[in-house]
């Protein structure tokens, strides 16, 4: 058992999947004393681990007036299972709720569930093939009907039906749900599934009322009037929706959490752009909350000086990273460049990849570009804490990079550019058009020039770069360049799906119309083995250790993580708005209140 294993264990205690007693027993078994084990827990915030809900102060529901939210992209429909993009998911979250939500540390918090399933309470089967969810008793839909297990079974049937064409289908298609009694269901998996908390949890988990959506399952799903006039269990009841403009709600007097919600009405206004939204909260105070502040920190700081609001930062799994192409983008094989039958002339040598890693000045990128909205990192998995590797590190060391390149046989020519076997070390570096990215490009290019690497920069407009058009060679998944940089979000508080990005069977190529997740086209047997082992490993500690190994393997060669980016919002000075980087911005909306 090493430090990683320990951290995994402690993480389990933290999120309640391992009891304190079980942890102490395991520690004693490996030769530690019980008090020492207790200290380890205290030292890792377990003793003090605060429930995200415990900060709520109001003593009665209502009386808070209006809550005004500003989303600079407007929602266009309010059905969580059709939601395209966070704007629709967030609007749905005002009215609908899942069984459990992710807190900022990546732990589950029950919402409609009575408790979080665990092995200790018997809800989680030992073979990893089933989980029992039990509903909180007495929860009512906004129209007064009770919430029952039938609604859960219906939501599963609804979302998994290909005719419904729900965007959440992926979370429901590989499991089976059967009703046990009025308040509980059993979710069954074909094979042992360590990550059992996908269906019914967080963004994809919002439960729909069977009595209203029942007639509109399958092919008729888009005709349901409730797609535009939601009836859920959430803290606010539906009042008005104008697609592309505004969503209004009023307080749900029958809400299932005590003394909540605080506000009498809620309004989500859409439209505009990030800077004007930040202005409306931070400078003029017209709105209480604005979402997704994709603005340079310098600009936010200037707006904040007015004192009308503050910038709130929570970390989820969003990572800005640099990819070094494992294949040769300059050779065309069978109508496809960067084919996996080729090898990159420079990056196939791990020393060159390491040199590039040493030439990236992450500290400056963080300090001068991202400010409070990002942290320099050497890991591809940056949360939840129990999956974060402690074995990696980063440094900015041009001298060492030069030495590595010399060792690898890339000699400096008369023009200062390195070459080997007549091939010059000239690289094409592409990204999307976005001011912070162009600055990062400039910083990396300059450092590389000092090490004798010539980098040509290219920037592609975002709508092209991030499109999935198989005919367009400039998309990020085609990766017809030597290096590229972009950000990607891990949407679950579990790195299993995220880590598919480096699995050899996921390579993006012509055969799959460049839809594969592995854009860097790096392939490694050890990685594949560790990943597959993690997929069926039921012991969370061992599984975390395997996933950490995957992370370490990936970042040792062609993947260069740069900045762990935060989810940034503007919050009015009086508003207390707990949120989580692993869930919707509004996942803890019932707990929002204003200091009088």
């Amino acid at each position: 058992m090493d430090e990683r294993d320990l951290r995994g264990l402690i993480g389990r205690v933290k999120d309640g999947r391992l009891s304190r007693r079980a942890f102490v027993q395991r520690m004693v078994a490996v030769g530690l004393t019980a008090p020492m084990a207790g200290l380890m827990l205290a030292g890792n915030d377990v003793a003090m681990a605060a429930d995200i809900r415990s900060g709520y102060k109001p003593t009665k529901a209502g009386g808070g007036g209006a809550l005004k939210l500003l989303w600079w992209q407007a929602p266009t429909l309010i059905n969580p299972h059709f939601a395209v993009g966070t704007k629709d998911q967030d609007a749905s979250r005002i009215f609908y709720e899942p069984l459990a939500a992710w807190d900022p540390d990546g732990n589950l918090v029950p919402v409609l569930a009575a408790s979080i399933p665990s092995k200790e309470n018997g809800a989680l089967a030992a073979d990893g093939r089933s989980v029992v969810w039990t509903l909180k008793p007495g929860v009512k839909w906004h129209d007064g009907k009770p919430l029952t297990a039938d609604d859960l079974v219906f939501t599963w049937e609804y979302a998994r039906d290909p005719a419904t064409a729900a965007v959440t289908a992926g979370s429901y298609k590989d499991c089976k749900v059967e009703k046990i009694d009025d308040l509980s269901v059993r979710v069954l998996f074909d094979k042992p599934t360590p990550y059992w908390c996908d269906a019914y949890v967080g963004i994809v988990g919002m439960v729909l009322p069977k009595h209203l959506f029942g007639p509109y399952s399958g092919a008729k799903s888009r005709d349901a009037p409730q797609n535009l006039a939601p009836v859920g269990t959430g803290p606010y009841r539906f009042v008005e929706f104008r697609p592309g403009d505004i969503v209004r709600g009023e307080r749900n007097p029958d809400y299932h959490l005590p003394n909540r919600p605080y506000f009498d009405t809620v309004e989500m206004k859409g439209g505009g752009d990030a800077v004007s939204a930040a202005r409306a909260v931070l400078q003029t105070g017209e709105y209480d909350y604005a979402w997704n502040m994709l603005i340079e920190d310098e600009v936010l700081k200037r707006l904040e000086t007015g004192g009308k609001g503050r910038v709130d930062v929570v970390y989820g799994g969003k990572l800005e990273f640099l990819l070094l192409n494992a294949t040769d983008p300059n050779v065309e094989v069978d109508g496809e460049r960067a084919s996996i039958t080729t090898k990159h002339p420079a990056f196939s040598d791990p020393k060159v990849a390491q040199a590039i890693n040493l030439l990236v000045d992450r500290k400056s990128i963080q300090t001068y570009i991202y400010g409070r909205t990002g942290k320099a990192t050497a890991n591809t998995v940056n949360g939840p804490e129990r999956f974060v590797s402690k074995n990696t590190s980063f440094a900015f060391d041009p001298a060492r990079a030069n030495a590595l390149l010399d060792e690898a046989g890339w000699k400096k020519g008369p023009d200062g550019i390195r070459a080997k076997d007549g091939k010059k070390l000239k690289l094409l570096f592409q990204t999307s058009i976005n001011a912070p990215r162009q600055k990062t490009q400039a910083i990396i290019k300059q450092a590389a020039a000092k090490a004798g690497i010539e980098i040509e920069l290219k920037s592609v407009t975002g709508s092209v770069f991030f499109s999935s058009d198989p005919a367009n060679p400039d998309t990020c998944t085609h990766f017809y360049a030597d290096m590229e940089m972009y950000a990607y979000s891990m949407t679950q508080a579990d790195p299993a799906i995220w880590l598919l990005m480096y699995a050899s069977w996921e390579v993006a190529q012509k055969a799959n119309k460049w839809q594969g997740r592995n854009v860097v086209r790096w392939r490694n047997d050890a990685y594949d083995k560790a990943y597959n082992a993690a997929q069926s490993e039921l012991d969370p500690v061992k599984r975390a250790a395997l996933l950490i190994k995957c992370n370490d393997l990936a970042v040792s060669e062609n993947v260069v993580p740069l900045i762990h980016r935060a989810e940034v919002s503007a919050v009015g000075a009086a508003l207390t708005a707990p949120r989580s980087g692993w869930d919707n911005d509004l996942s803890f909306l019932p707990d929002w209140y204003k200091e009088a």
């Binding site: 910083i443 290019k445 920069l457």
Partner: protein, 310 residues
Amino acid sequence: MAGSTLASPSDEAPALARAPASPGRETWRRFRRHRLAVASVGVLALLVAGVVFGGLLWPVAIDDIDFAAQLQGPSWDHPFGTDDLGQDLLARMIYGGRISLAVGFAAMAVASLIGVLVGALAGMSRRLLDPVLMWLTDLFLSLPQLPLLLLVIYLFRDSLKAVFGTQGGVFLMIVAVIGGLRWMPVARLVRAQFLSLREKEFVEAARSQGATTGHLVRRHILPNALGPVIVAASIEVSAAIIAESTLSFLGLGFPPDIPTWGRLLFDAKDHLDVAPHWALFPGGAIFLTVLSINFIGDGLRDALDPRRVL
């Protein structure tokens, strides 16, 4: 338009008692009358000299990142201030100015050349060529420019790069694309001028003396039609400078780290409130270039218009 005025008063004006000067000298004499145009020549010469020789006087690297000197205003160390990476703006403007001005003038030359050629052919033709060429012009005018640009760039970017190198390839492509898509107004102007001029008495007179069509065009019609073309061409320079910055903005022009004036402006826009100098210098340079070229065009038109008394 000049061509629509009837036989000009200069014909009747009493000849001044002066020895006939050579045409070049005569043009220069007439051009000098336009004070603003003369001043503009000075300004433009200064700008051109600045970007061509400025690098010798100010040998600072354009991409030296210095975080200690972010967003500084003008000072002795950085006469034009610095940008948000602490890079020296004067050095960047000198470097970028070469590209911006070269793109502007080259694209103008391409557009004017094609425009005059097409316009002249259409204007002189009395048969099928005129409508066909005008259909072509209309066709080009109605082409959606942006998708076409995308297409051209995707098709030819890599092959041009392979032959002429990154910057040379992009330069050629941008000049060809901007010039090739902006000749239509010039062609229409020239054709209109030709249609009116070719029926004028002096052209009839020349033709009656046996002048060939080529001679008529070169010696009689084209010089008289050039006034509006020169004005259009001077506007073309500014349009090309701005079009280049649009292309860079879309990621289709020069690489993002090549600081053309348009690119500098684009980068500066988010920091207008704290670092106005960043936008003012390239903006001012574009403004001065465009203004002086327009004045020079104005002066040239006056000087070259034989019907105007100066």
